[in-house]
Amino acid sequence: MTTASEIQVRNQELARAINEEARRDPHSPYAGKWVGIANGQVAVVADTLGEMAKELRRIEPDPQKSFGVQASRDYTKVTYIWGPR
């Protein structure tokens, strides 16, 4: 039986592959889309985060088995928060 953590590893590997594909190929069906992944498979491709979240929750209510990625995003870019800790 596959554990939730194993599923999450598969989800994250798929998310990484989708993002690499979308960044390499602007004609990829995932390019610029929000992609929801459940149980190691693509479950939703949506134009907005809200659409993706709603549909992904409907398909897989268990958050430990689902994952999302904004395809084409440069995830090496740093977001700065300057506020106090």
Binding site: Q8, L49, P63, F67, R73, T79, Y80, I81, G83, P84
Partner: protein
């Protein structure tokens, strides 16, 4: 236009959001309203303690890299965020952070504040949001 205001917290601007836990209980969190957190085109609206992200049943997005007050890779969750007085109810991307600013339970980044009109609305002892 609907407006909600809160008193300053330790002389700093604060916004109060409502989260929904997996057991259905709604909890309020007081966040530092920080226009210096992130940029207007960022996708992550808020920063909260990871325990809140998990307790509210958020599923994860790809992690992001932070710099400044926080450094390194941080998990991102999708959470239902509400401001009932403004009729605001949306799924937003929330960065999980290990610590929150003193006295606060998280950070409302510029991209979140900029969804609304924001400011003191003429009263220096308060901070508020209003819908356009």
């Amino acid at each position: 236009m609907p407006r909600v205001v809160w008193p300053l917290l330790d002389q700093q601007p604060m916004v109060e959001i409502t989260l929904t836990r997996t057991d259905g209980q709604q909890v309020r969190r007081q966040l530092l309203a920080d226009t210096g957190a992130g940029k207007g085109q960022d996708l992550e609206d808020l920063a909260l303690a990871e325990a809140d992200c998990v307790a509210c049943g958020g599923f994860q997005l790809n992690p992001v890299l932070l710099g400044g007050a926080y450094t390194g890779s941080h998990r991102v969750y999708i959470l239902r965020i509400q401001l009932p007085d403004l009729g605001f109810d949306q799924d937003l991307a929330v960065i999980a952070v290990p610590t929150c600013p003193d006295g606060f339970e998280g950070i409302a980044a510029f991209v979140f504040l900029n969804r609304f009109g924001y400011g003191n609305f003429g009263n220096p002892t308060q901070f508020g949001l209003e819908t356009p």
